[in-house]
C-alpha cells in the first residue's frame, strides 16, 4: 500500500543520529578535512560510547529503509566520517549478505573493507586480474594481485577481495575472499590523497602469495558458467541505496545551510508564488529541493523493495544514478549561490561539494548505473549494450 510514512524506529534512529552529528561530526568535520590521514580519537571515543546502544548503525539488523535514513542523516553530518566510522564498512555488508553461519561467527565482529577495483579495471569489474589458487596440500587459497581505492583499508581489519579462479572462464570464475589482518603477503602500499572525504582512508594493497584458509571464500567455490557472477553483483543491489543516501545527505546539508544563510539575508523560499514573482535564486532553490526529493523517493523505493525481498537492481540503480548526479549538481549550485563565502573554507559548503562528488563515482559511476537501467528496460545483454 502506498505510504510515505516512516516507521517510529526509523524516526527514532534518525533523531538519535542527528544529535550525534550536531554534537560530534559537525564539530570535527573541518579538522579532519584539513588533517588528512591523522588519528581521529573523537570518532573512536564516540564509537566506544555508543556500543551500549548497539552501535551507531545498530549492526545490520535494522531494516534497509532505516539504514538508508540513518545513512542520509550521518552523511548530512559528514560523509568522510560516515565512511570512516569504526564499526565497519562495505566488506561487512558483503559478508552479511552471503556468509555462512560459521563465517558470520568468525568474521562478523571484525570490521571489513572491500577490494574490487584494480589499477587496470574499475567499472569493468569482470576484468579483474587478481588470482586465487587453491594449494591442495595445505588447503589454502593463494591470492596474488594489486587492489586500489580500498575505502577504510587502513582502518578496518579484514578486507573482502575479489579474485578470479581462472581468468579464461570470465565473470563466472570471480569469487570473493576474506583476507584477514596480518595474513602473510597482504601489504598496504599506498594511502591516497583525495579531493574530498579526506577523513576516510583510501588505500592500495598488494597481495603477494598471500595465503588464507580455504574457509575464507564467500559463497560457493564452484564455477557456474551461468549466473555465477550474479551473486556478487547482488551485493550492490543492497548497498547502492546506501550510497545514494550518502549523496542525498550531503546535498541536504548544503541545501539546508544555503536556505538558512539566505534567510539571514532576508531571502525566503516561497512555495506559493508564480514563476514571474520568483527570483533566480528562489527558483534555483525550489528546483534543487524538487531534485533532492525525487532522488530520495527513488532511493526509499529501492530500499523498501529490499525489505520485502523483491528484486530491485533496476530501482537501486535509478536511486543511485539520480542521487549521485543530484548531489553533485546541488552542492555545486549551493557554492555558487553563496558567492565568495560559499567558496571559502570558513564554511563547509565547499567541502560538501568536494565530498559528495564521490557518490557519483564509487559503487558504480553514474554512467554505469545508466547502463544497468538501460539494459534492464531494453532487455539487452552486455554484448548488445556495451
Amino acid at each position: 500500500m502506498i505510504d510515505f510514512e516512516l516507521s517510529p524506529e526509523a524516526l527514532k534512529a534518525q533523531e538519535r543520529v542527528r544529535t550525534i552529528c550536531e554534537n560530534v561530526f559537525r564539530k570535527i568535520s573541518r579538522k579532519y578535512d584539513e588533517n588528512e590521514h591523522s588519528e581521529m580519537p573523537e570518532l573512536h571515543e564516540l564509537a566506544e560510547e555508543l556500543k551500549g546502544e548497539g552501535g551507531l548503525r545498530g549492526g545490520m539488523n535494522r531494516d534497509f529503509l532505516t539504514n538508508v535514513i540513518v545513512t542520509e542523516e550521518l552523511s548530512w553530518g559528514d560523509l568522510g566520517l560516515t565512511l570512516a566510522w569504526p564499526e565497519g564498512g562495505l566488506g561487512n555488508a558483503a559478508i552479511n549478505a552471503v556468509a555462512t553461519p560459521e563465517q558470520k561467527a568468525r568474521f562478523g565482529k571484525a570490521t571489513a573493507s572491500m577490494a574490487i577495483t584494480e589499477p587496470g579495471c574499475g567499472s569493468d569489474t569482470s576484468n579483474i586480474t587478481t588470482t586465487a589458487k587453491l594449494d591442495p596440500e595445505t588447503n589454502e587459497w593463494i591470492i596474488n594481485g594489486e587492489k586500489i581505492f580500498i575505502t577504510g583499508g587502513k582502518t578496518y581489519d579484514n578486507v573482502v577481495v575479489w579474485a578470479t579462479l581462472d581468468r579464461s572462464l570470465g565473470r563466472a570464475a570471480i569469487k570473493s575472499f576474506v583476507v584477514e589482518k596480518g595474513a602473510p603477503g597482504r601489504e598496504l602500499v599506498k594511502l591516497e590523497h583525495k579531493l574530498g572525504i579526506r577523513s576516510s582512508d583510501t588505500v592500495a594493497m598488494v597481495f603477494n602469495d598471500c595465503r588464507i584458509p580455504y574457509e575464507n571464500i564467500l559463497g560457493s567455490p564452484e564455477i557456474k558458467t551461468r549466473g555465477g557472477f550474479k551473486g556478487a553483483m547482488a551485493t550492490f543491489d543492497a548497498t547502492r541505496p546506501g550510497v545514494a543516501a550518502m549523496g542525498i545527505g550531503v546535498a541536504r546539508a548544503a541545501l539546508d545551510f544555503t536556505k538558512e544563510t539566505l534567510e539571514k539575508e532576508g531571502i525566503t523560499i516561497p512555495y506559493d508564488k508564480g514563476m514571474h514573482d520568483l527570483s533566480a535564486v528562489q527558483k534555483a532553490v525550489l528546483d534543487m529541493e524538487a531534485e533532492l526529493e525525487a532522488a530520495r523517493l527513488l532511493t526509499w523505493r529501492a530500499a523498501t523493495m529490499l525489505n520485502k525481498g523483491v528484486r530491485n537492481s533496476l530501482e537501486a540503480s535509478m536511486g543511485k544514478a539520480k542521487a549521485g548526479r543530484m548531489a553533485t549538481l546541488v552542492t555545486q549550485r549551493c557554492v555558487e549561490i553563496l558567492g565568495p563565502c560559499g567558496y571559502s573554507r570558513d564554511w563547509l559548503v565547499e567541502k560538501w561539494m568536494r565530498d559528495c562528488k564521490i557518490t557519483d563515482i564509487f559503487e558504480g559511476t553514474g554512467q554505469i548505473q545508466m547502463l544497468i537501467i538501460a539494459r534492464q528496460i531494453l532487455g539487452y545483454t552486455r554484448a548488445e549494450l556495451k
Binding site: 500500500m1 502506498i2 505510504d3 512555495y271 524538487a290 528496460i377
Partner: protein
C-alpha cells in the same frame, strides 16, 4: 511503514483504466488532434465507468467507496497516457464536483452532486486561468463584489475546457474574503463564452475564453457559503492531478521511443545498442518513476488532510520540466520521423509543453 506499491483496489483501477485508455482513447487520439474535435462518445464512456458517482456519498445520489486523491491520480495517469486532451475533457466534471465535495455547504451538495450521478456526462467545468503572460493563481484579477444581495463577477478567464456546452462553470475570483468560487450557469447573463482558443497542443480539447461582465450570481452559489473554499487545497489537488497526467504523457512517449529504438537499425545495428540513445531511454525511465513518486506523495498527503503546498508545488515544477525533457527525447530518438505527425511523439511533445502553464485544468 513506507511502501510504494499499489493495493488491490488501486491495481484494479490502474489495469481497468489502462485497458480503457488503450481501447478507447488511443484510437481516437490522432484523428481528434488533427481535426480539433473531441468525440462526445468518449466522454460518455468515461462517465459510464462510474468514476464520478463512485466519489459521491450515497446521500447525494452516489455510491461512494472512499474518495481518494491518490486513486484519482492513478486513474488520471492512465487516461492521459491514452490521450491528454480527451482525458482533460472527460474528467472536466470533476472541476466543479470536487470543490463542492470538498468545501460545499450541505445545500449545495444536495443540489448539485446528484447531477454527477446520472447515466450521462454532466457537462460542467471551472474557470481559473486568466490570459496574461504573468498569470499567477495566487493573484487573480477576476473579482467578486457583493452588491445588493448578489455577487457581481468581473474579469476574463482563459483555457476553460468545454465552456461552450457546460451547464455550469465554477468561476474563481478574488473576493472580500480571499479567493472564492462561484457556480455560474453557462447561460447566465453577463457571462459570455468567446471563440474557441487555439493552442500548440491540447488541440482536441475545446478550450474557451470566458468573459464576465457584471455577471450577477446569487450568494448561495458561492461554494462553501460564508466559509468559502480552501483555495490552497484545491490548487494542490489540481496540481497532483496535473502531475499524474504529465507522468502519463511522459510514459507514453518513453514507451513508444523504446520500442522504436529496438527496431530502428542504423550503421548495422539497432540504434538502442548505442549509449547515446540507450541513456536517453534510461534517464526517461528514471524520471518517469521519480515524477510519479512525487505526484503520489502530494496526493497521499492530501488524502491525510495535511497541507501539501510544498509537495504539490515541487512536484508540479519537477513534472513540468521532466515532461518536457522526456517528450523531447521521444522526438529526438525517432529522428526526422519523430517530426512527422504520423508518429505520436510530436503530439506528446506539444501536449507535454502545456504543464508548465496549466493550473486548475484537472483536479483529484
Amino acid at each position: 511503514m513506507a511502501d510504494f506499491s499499489l493495493n488491490e483496489e488501486q491495481k484494479l483501477i490502474q489495469e481497468t483504466m489502462r485497458e480503457f485508455a488503450q481501447e478507447e482513447f488511443r484510437k481516437l487520439a490522432h484523428e481528434s488532434d488533427e481535426s480539433s474535435t473531441l468525440q462526445e462518445d468518449a466522454l460518455e464512456k468515461v462517465c459510464a465507468l462510474g468514476i464520478f458517482s463512485s466519489s459521491i456519498p450515497e446521500e447525494y445520489g452516489g455510491h461512494e467507496m472512499e474518495r481518494s486523491a491518490l486513486n484519482t491520480i492513478i486513474m488520471a495517469e492512465e487516461l492521459a497516457w491514452g490521450d491528454l486532451s480527451i482525458a482533460l475533457g472527460a474528467l472536466s466534471p470533476l472541476l466543479m464536483m470536487t470543490p463542492i465535495l470538498e468545501s460545499g455547504t450541505e445545500d449545495q451538495k444536495k443540489k448539485w452532486l446528484p447531477n454527477f450521478c446520472g447515466e450521462s456526462f454532466y457537462a460542467s467545468t471551472a474557470a481559473l486561468m486568466e490570459p496574461r503572460v504573468s498569470f499567477d493563481p495566487f493573484a487573480l484579477q477576476t473579482t467578486a463584489e457583493e452588491r445588493g444581495g448578489k455577487a457581481v463577477l468581473n474579469g476574463v478567464k482563459c483555457m476553460v475546457p468545454l465552456a461552450d456546452r457546460a451547464r455550469q462553470i465554477l468561476v474563481y475570483a478574488k473576493g472580500a474574503s480571499g479567493m472564492e468560487a462561484y457556480i455560474v450557469d453557462g447561460d447566465a447573463a453577463g457571462l459570455s463564452v468567446g471563440e474557441r482558443e487555439k493552442y500548440m497542443g491540447l488541440r482536441a480539447l475545446p478550450l474557451f475564453t470566458v468573459t464576465l461582465k457584471d455577471c450577477e450570481v446569487d450568494l448561495d452559489r458561492r461554494v462553501g457559503g460564508e466559509k468559502g473554499i480552501d483555495y490552497n487545497r484545491l490548487l494542490n489537488l489540481s496540481r497532483a492531478s496535473l502531475c499524474a497526467m504529465a507522468v502519463g504523457i511522459s510514459r507514453a512517449s518513453h514507451e513508444y521511443a523504446l520500442e522504436y529504438a529496438k527496431e530502428r537499425v542504423a550503421f548495422g545495428e539497432p540504434i538502442a545498442y548505442r549509449q547515446s540513445i540507450a541513456f536517453m531511454l534510461a534517464e526517461s525511465a528514471m524520471e518517469v518513476d521519480a515524477m510519479r513518486l512525487l505526484a503520489w506523495r502530494a496526493a497521499w498527503k492530501l488524502d491525510r488532510g495535511e497541507d501539501a503546498t510544498r509537495e504539490s508545488t515541487l512536484a508540479k515544477r519537477y513534472c513540468a520540466d521532466q515532461t518536457m525533457k522526456v517528450t523531447d527525447y521521444g522526438v529526438q530518438i525517432l529522428g526526422g520521423h519523430g517530426y512527422i505527425r504520423e508518429h505520436p511523439v510530436e503530439r506528446w511533445f506539444r501536449n507535454g509543453r502545456s504543464f508548465a502553464a496549466l493550473e486548475g485544468l484537472a483536479i483529484a
